[in-house]
Symmetry: C2
Subunit: 189 residues, 2 copies
């Protein structure tokens, strides 16, 4: 940030009075420009026919991590809810319609100022198709997941928690809710 | 937003190419300034001595809702996790040290572009004190909660879910995780 978005004048990076953090503050009108983490929200679309569970992944057509596989997810927008965001991203990136279920993971990625949420979801039909941000969209059994080519650690961890809970679910246990903080040093899947 | 925070020139409110939403886009350098929801994170500090459960509330010293009661909570900052934010806000607003437990509520408030999270927490001692943003800080039994004077609907709902789960917890049931979308028309506690 170089200029005040309110008045267009210069800003300084200082700790304002009654605060304890560096903020961008306008030298002219005094507006404090707070910066806060963003939420990335997505789904885990499950197709489970005859006990053969498969999850829908998208291969990214854009940077970062172009060419790598991810669950459908993206930045939450103003005026929507977390479930609105999960459904919209699933439709936009995977051309897929889902019935959203419970929140499954909340993962903090503090060094990039993000919080990632993934909802469990039931894929409603097989008429999915790559959206503009995806090269291809495909169903994977657990044994087929391209673990070395997953785009983001939050997606790898979510998939691992998911298949572990799915195995236990077949024995009658409920799905859990999983929280994880991913620090920079852990940032390889 | 009136000016580009990168180059200081004017912005237009338009739908960029390959997008479907209005964004502020710089007329000069072309930067797209995305705006996203903010997270408000707090705790439900419980003091439970001899089966007499009490929750710590803060009376707000600042607008909005100055003079009304709230759970300690505030905007999550960059470089911190959701639990960092919950602990920090509890310390700053209530001068209280807590041991954070599970995430208890996730509430969407889309018309103000916010997502509120509250964690269950065990108050570690009684040496709490009003921070700069609080007029007073006090423990309340369920029967003493000032329901008509709670600052925000997300706090009222969280407290109602909490005392309901606490009663069931005494019969051996685990605490739940509660999600709720608060639309504008519901925005009275």
């Amino acid at each position: 940030m170089n200029f005040c978005s309110d008045c267009g004048q210069s800003v300084s990076h200082i700790v304002p009075p009654d605060d304890n953090r560096l903020r961008y503050v306008c030298d002219h009108c005094g507006t404090i420009h707070y910066q806060n983490p963003k939420m990335v929200v997505g789904s885990i679309p499950l197709w489970d026919e005859g006990g053969h569970a498969q999850v829908l992944l998208c291969r990214r057509a854009i940077e970062p991590r172009k060419g790598y596989w991810t669950l459908p997810a993206g930045f939450m927008e103003n005026n929507e809810t977390t479930t609105d965001a999960a459904s919209r991203e699933t439709e936009e990136e995977a051309g897929a319609r889902v019935e959203l279920q419970e929140l499954f993971t909340l993962m903090n990625v503090p060094h990039v100022h993000q919080v990632h949420l993934f909802y469990r979801a039931r894929l409603l039909d097989l008429d999915f198709a790559a959206g503009i941000e995806s090269l291809e969209v495909k169903l994977f059994k657990e044994s087929e997941i391209p673990w070395a080519d997953i785009a983001f650690p939050t997606v790898s961890h979510t998939l691992k928690f998911f298949f572990a809970d799915l195995a236990q679910h077949k024995d009658g246990k409920p799905f859990g809710f999983h929280s994880l903080d991913l620090k920079k040093s852990l940032h390889t899947s």
